[in-house]
Symmetry: C2
Subunit: 380 residues, 2 copies
């Protein structure tokens, strides 16, 4: 096991009716800015619950943080927040609203343009932020990461701010999510776990089992959720799995990969494809391309998660990759670039961007531009 330092201070407030806890979670002397997405929270009752809980609090609202939050939008929120002397942020929405709000919370403490913070990659001087999560997927509710886009240049980068001081997760808020968003959330969670799990075998027996525990849970609940998105316990398991998939718990003492994500981000930047949908495509390419490098862990994953124990190693790996692709398809997602009308031009552009950045991604830092191209060819 590798040495590590772990600390996750976020207060997780989980369950039915827990949005009411907001009244106690934020001190009444705070000048709050509540950040929202496009307005679905007005249809599902979340907005009403939030406003009800914040009676007696002092707040302004900022609307319009889009999927793949854009610096162009966030700059406006930062201007409003500075003007109103905001000293607490409350993000209400999915991972994009939370991610965007992490950059706002840093931008409020920064004099320059917030895009500079994104290019720095990290900034820990922030205004405290809480969250009401409505879409399980990114894990943003219990980590300090965010992904910020810049429309004018079609760029998308990771940024690290601070942990939310609290996050409220009420599974009932997910009952009315569009099924496609649920599918993308399941895919996103699955690949988050894979980025931390499908690496060198034998690093930690415990952490391997915890990662496998999330994967098995997702595989068990996904078909049931497609049948009934109003089942509380199913949606609670989904919501908790998404949070636990990217809050540092399954990263303790082990190496990580993230090459699939780096390629997926480019697909979103270039084509606007939903993040989870990009992963459902690219991950199969990663598995096929890096099967030799990752064969030990693919065998373990196949055996423990899919119960594949028969056949030669190569046959087991083939079947494991097949099962994984089938899982993404069962979510109703594409697993080939061609299904999304993405072709050779995009592949070449991604290779070019990787080469331009001059860094190689992945656990073994060997996913260069040409390996990225190979991965994309393997999921054409």
């Amino acid at each position: 096991m590798n040495n590590f330092i772990f600390q996750n201070p976020t207060r997780l407030i989980f369950g039915k009716g827990m949005i009411a806890e907001l009244s106690r979670a934020i001190p009444t002397d705070k000048r709050i800015m509540i950040t929202f997405g496009g307005g679905s929270v007005k249809k599902n009752g979340v907005y009403e619950q939030v406003i009800q809980a914040l009676k007696g609090h002092n707040y302004v609202e900022f609307w319009g943080i889009e999927p793949n939050p854009a610096i162009e939008t966030l700059r406006k929120a930062i201007i409003l927040g500075k003007e109103k002397k905001v000293d607490f942020l409350l993000a209400v929405g999915g991972g994009s609203v939370l991610d965007g709000t992490k950059l706002i919370s840093a931008g409020l403490k920064y004099d320059g343009d917030a895009w500079e913070l994104v290019r720095k990659g990290a900034y820990s001087d922030t205004v405290p932020m809480g969250a009401v999560l409505t879409l399980p997927a990114t894990g943003s509710e219990m980590n300090k990461g965010a992904v910020i886009s810049r429309h004018e240049t079609q760029e998308k980068y990771a940024f690290y701010g601070n942990y939310p001081v609290f996050s409220i997760l009420d599974p009932e808020t997910t009952f009315t999510l569009p099924p496609y968003q649920v599918a993308c959330g399941l895919s996103d969670t699955f690949v988050h776990v894979m980025e931390q799990y499908l690496t060198t075998p034998g690093q930690s027996r415990l952490i391997d089992r915890w990662a496998e525990g999330i994967l098995s849970t997702l595989i068990e609940i996904a078909p049931r959720i497609r049948e009934n998105q109003h089942n509380y316990d199913l949606m609670a398991d989904f919501m908790l799995s998404a949070t636990m998939g990217l809050n540092g718990f399954i990263a303790m003492g082990v190496t990580q990969d993230w090459a699939t994500h780096m390629i997926g981000h480019e697909l979103t930047a270039l084509h606007g494809l939903t993040h989870g949908a990009t992963l459902a495509i690219v991950f199969n390419g990663t598995l096929r391309t890096l099967r030799k490098q990752k064969y030990g862990k693919i065998l373990q994953y196949g055996e423990r998660v899919w119960g594949i124990t028969q056949g030669s190693d190569d046959e087991r790996i083939d079947l494991t990759i097949e099962k994984t692709e089938e899982f993404f398809r069962s979510l109703g997602l594409s697993t080939h670039l061609s299904e999304e009308n993405i072709g050779e031009e995009t592949i070449q552009e991604i290779e070019r961007r990787f080469n331009e950045r001059g860094v190689a991604f992945g656990e073994a830092q060997n996913v260069t531009g040409s390996v990225a191209r190979e991965i994309l060819h393997n999921c054409k």
Copy 2:
């Protein structure tokens, strides 16, 4: 899943050589009291590493916190700490030293006798505390619980103070532990998980799998540790499992039991038996006595952790209980009271104490004095 609020602020500093991090983990302006047990840390090099790291810091040492830390000893530490105006505590040792130090950290802020705090059960106004853990077992390094004994009356109660601000875990410190202590640590961890897992089935698929993940890890590593206690990765998995077994992670959204612990504490109070050793005995009695109430989860546990899938439900439960008892025996621990020369008199005294307290323990709050007697008869 039940509603829950989870927050665990402890900074976990894990790995080889990490005791050196102490120099940065405690500000140099603090007046530290370092608390120790009986002196094993002077033999295994831990003391030297701690003192080396704290060069330039201001500290006093308090020695002699015994296994099952006694209020009689802790009162002395509190007197010394008040005299020296201590404003930071560093516990160096096993769970007993950490538990005792949690009471000291509350006692330093309290004017009355610290035993009053134990009888209150909780006190959150505390002096901050860090820890260097040398014995994986209690989970005290990442929770706010402690168990405090009072020798004059042979009493032993749980007390809740605060989380350590940091805990340093270097698996190398466990290489020279007496094998009996390692066995008791494995037993303690196993039953901690069971207290949170062997309850009503179907509460959370994810948390079930995480609990099963710790159990499977313990079962896999225990025989290997008995062969070679100097294997770093084995001891790292053990150490991490012990911490994750009782830091709130596998308690999210599920009910808990703790009846086995309540009975085990009495055996320690009356006979001085090591905590983990009491659990290895009592847990089998609990399983046999409550097999009807817990049959659904015993079946799941048998199937997922022991791979038991053949036979009638009753046969599978029998085999699962047998396998569990075998596991404790494989650690070299007793699984019957008679092996420790504990007889009917003690059973009656424990029944009397349970009745006197007038509360019933366990998930279903049905472990009264007479049920405790039945449990003890089932592991006589």
